[in-house]
C-alpha cells in the first residue's frame, strides 16, 4: 500500500479504511493547497518526492504512532501537479478514545512535515516559480515584519 499517490485523496475513504466498531473516534488532519505563500499569490504547485525513502519514512511514522497509541493510522500525500484547494495531505487516526486519536494524528502530521522527503514547487501569479523552503519562510525576519501592514 502506497502512502504517496498521484490521484485525488478521498478523506471519507481514508476514515473508512481505519475505523472499526472498537475504534469509533477518528481524528483527521487535511492540508489543502493554499492560494498564498509568503505574501505572494500562488497559482499552482507541484509536489515531488524521493519516493522510496518517503514511503519508508511514512511507514516508520505510522508504525511509531501505532506503537505509542492504541490507534490505526491512515496517511496519504499527493504528488504531481495540484491546483488551489486540492488536498495535498490527509491523515486519519482511529482509536477507542478521542485523546488517543488526536494525539496520534497530531504526531503523524508533525513527523511527516519534519522527516518525509517531499518538495513543493510553487508557481506564482506572475509566472515565476520557486522551491518552497519552510526554514526560510516559516518565520519572517524582523525586517520583513516591519514592512508588513499592521492589520
Amino acid at each position: 500500500m502506497g502512502y504517496l499517490t498521484r490521484r485525488p485523496i478521498d478523506v471519507s475513504e481514508l476514515i473508512a479504511a481505519v475505523s472499526a466498531p472498537e475504534r469509533g473516534g477518528i481524528a483527521t488532519f487535511v492540508g489543502l493547497v493554499r492560494d498564498h505563500h509568503g505574501g505572494r499569490a500562488v497559482r499552482a504547485l507541484e509536489y515531488t518526492a524521493y519516493e522510496p525513502m518517503a514511503e519508508s519514512i511514512c511507514a516508520e511514522i505510522v508504525g511509531e504512532a501505532e506503537a505509542r497509541w492504541p490507534v490505526r493510522i491512515g496517511l496519504r500525500h499527493r504528488l504531481g501537479a495540484l491546483g488551489i484547494g486540492d488536498t495535498a495531505v490527509a491523515i486519519a487516526a482511529a482509536a477507542g478514545h478521542r485523546d488517543e486519536a488526536f494525539g496520534a494524528c497530531r504526531y503523524a502530521i508533525e513527523e511527516l512535515k519534519r522527516r518525509v522527503p517531499i518538495w513543493k514547487r510553487e508557481t506564482f501569479a506572475d509566472g515565476s516559480e520557486e522551491w518552497v523552503d519552510p526554514s526560510r519562510t516559516a518565520a519572517p525576519s524582523s525586517e520583513e515584519r516591519e514592512g508588513m501592514a499592521p492589520w
Binding site: T48, P52, M53, A88, L112, K113, P117, I118, W131
Partner: protein, 88 residues
C-alpha cells in the same frame, strides 16, 4: 607480498528538487577507491558546478535513512542529498 591496489568504484548520489535544478542533474557519480564518509561525499558534490549552494546543514540519506556527516558510505549504498523538506 605486494599490496593489490584497490579497485575504484562509483557511489551514485541522487539529487532532488532545488539541488537537482542547481546542478542540472538528478544524480552524480562520485568515484572513489574506498569508503567515504557522508561529509566527504558532500564536499565532493559541492565541488561540482552549482554545488556550492548546497548548505552545510543539508540532510543526507544513506539507504533511505538520514545519516550524520560521520556515517560511512561504501560500494552499493544508496545516497541522496535532500534540500529542505516541504511536505504536508
Amino acid at each position: 607480498m605486494a599490496a593489490v591496489p584497490p579497485a575504484p568504484f562509483t557511489i551514485r548520489v541522487q539529487l532532488f528538487a532545488r539541488y537537482a535544478e542547481l546542478l542540472g542533474a538528478d544524480h552524480l557519480d562520485v568515484v572513489t577507491d574506498g569508503p567515504l564518509t557522508v561529509g566527504e561525499i558532500l564536499s565532493r558534490v559541492r565541488a561540482f558546478p552549482g554545488g556550492g549552494t548546497i548548505g552545510v546543514g543539508t540532510l543526507v540519506a544513506v539507504n533511505l535513512r538520514q545519516a550524520p556527516l560521520s556515517a560511512p558510505v561504501t560500494r552499493g549504498d544508496e545516497v541522496a542529498i535532500l534540500p529542505p523538506l516541504a511536505g504536508g
